[in-house]
Symmetry: C2
Amino acid sequence: MSAAPEPSDLSPEFLAAAAPLRPGAHRVWSLIVTVFGDLARAEGDAIDGAALGRIMAAMAVKPEAMRVALHRLRKEGWLESRKAGRGAVHALTAQGRAGSQEAAPRIYAARAEGPEAWFLALGEGAVEAGAGEVQLTASAVLSPAPAAGLAAGRVEELPGWARARLCSEALFEEAAELERALAAVRVPAGLAPVEVAALRALVVHSWRRVVLRAPQVPARFMPEGWAGERCRSLVVSLLAALPRPEVGEI
Amino acid sequence: MSAAPEPSDLSPEFLAAAAPLRPGAHRVWSLIVTVFGDLARAEGDAIDGAALGRIMAAMAVKPEAMRVALHRLRKEGWLESRKAGRGAVHALTAQGRAGSQEAAPRIYAARAEGPEAWFLALGEGAVEAGAGEVQLTASAVLSPAPAAGLAAGRVEELPGWARARLCSEALFEEAAELERALAAVRVPAGLAPVEVAALRALVVHSWRRVVLRAPQVPARFMPEGWAGERCRSLVVSLLAALPRPEVGEI
């Protein structure tokens, strides 16, 4: 393994830009998934251990924590590693790639995409929300494709209490905090490729946590003040200012 | 008061035509309301006591029962009576006329009319159906104009359990029985005006009981096999075959 960069290898401009995104406060295995999803999502893509180590170190992840996380990700079938010279090369497995490619459109889309038509779907008795559905009451869900046997009506707007069901208070707060954090990030000129990769990963990781937990409903269904779509705009701007580096240059 | 006609004054053809509609099996005050709604609904219209007595007798109502019913209808503000020569003349009050005119379009329309758009309207807690709405579950109603605060989706079709909510079993059965009865009525030629008036009243009365209790929803929302719209077609045909007589000729 090559040595991970010391914090002193990182530019003060990078450290200032990354600070609002709280490097060091994220789960390491999840950050690694983000990095592969951002830089090496296509079949045949790989990141060598030294480059991955430098990206993770820029996000304040220690080598030992990275090794533990890589072990876990291999065990769970997300990553596969092979020896290459004195080091190792890591790549997403087919399963990891599928998961990553499924999530990518939701994470990277400049505009929220989701089903156009949403239905209030009511059961005679209790109804449990399925994948892509939202529980509104014990016997009703919001669904893009209501199950047979439910009474369904197409929804154009929702009252406050129903909008509140679409998003936990925790998620609502996390989106608001993320908006503040993203708005505080100033992308400096002249960042090194590893710094660009790390800053991208921090942006994408924080956003991924929010966007993948929010239902794919039109923004007007979400609670008043929902910051998700403003976060999306900030993410799109930041990523445009941080063009994806070549993995080989990191 | 003039003497009411004896059954022997009625033609055997009339008695045969009326039989499926069970003259004598209906509430007298309600039959009287039907007769006024059918023959004397406009402002200024009236029916004199002798003519009314003949119509009611043709429906197997005894003079004493008619007197009691007239008393009740006056007391409740539906009818007003004034002396005229040796008898009396009866007319709907303004209130009675308003009720009668409100119901008439639903009773006499050749095609069901009602709101075009229907919504599944869901409350956060319990919701009670208002006028013109149908209770689907404890917290949901079918409504043409959902109250503020309810989550509402426009309905195009309904599953069986929800359709069953639109109509009690009793009403479903009553419509089915009415269809059989109406289909059994053969309108003979040469009926006397009083017989036409009585036959019309029996048809309208039976239909009124069904149509005014059914929600004004599109037929496709009603339970499979609902006979209401077939009853409507039969009613329209029978009334066309029984042109409204002049009250003065009865």
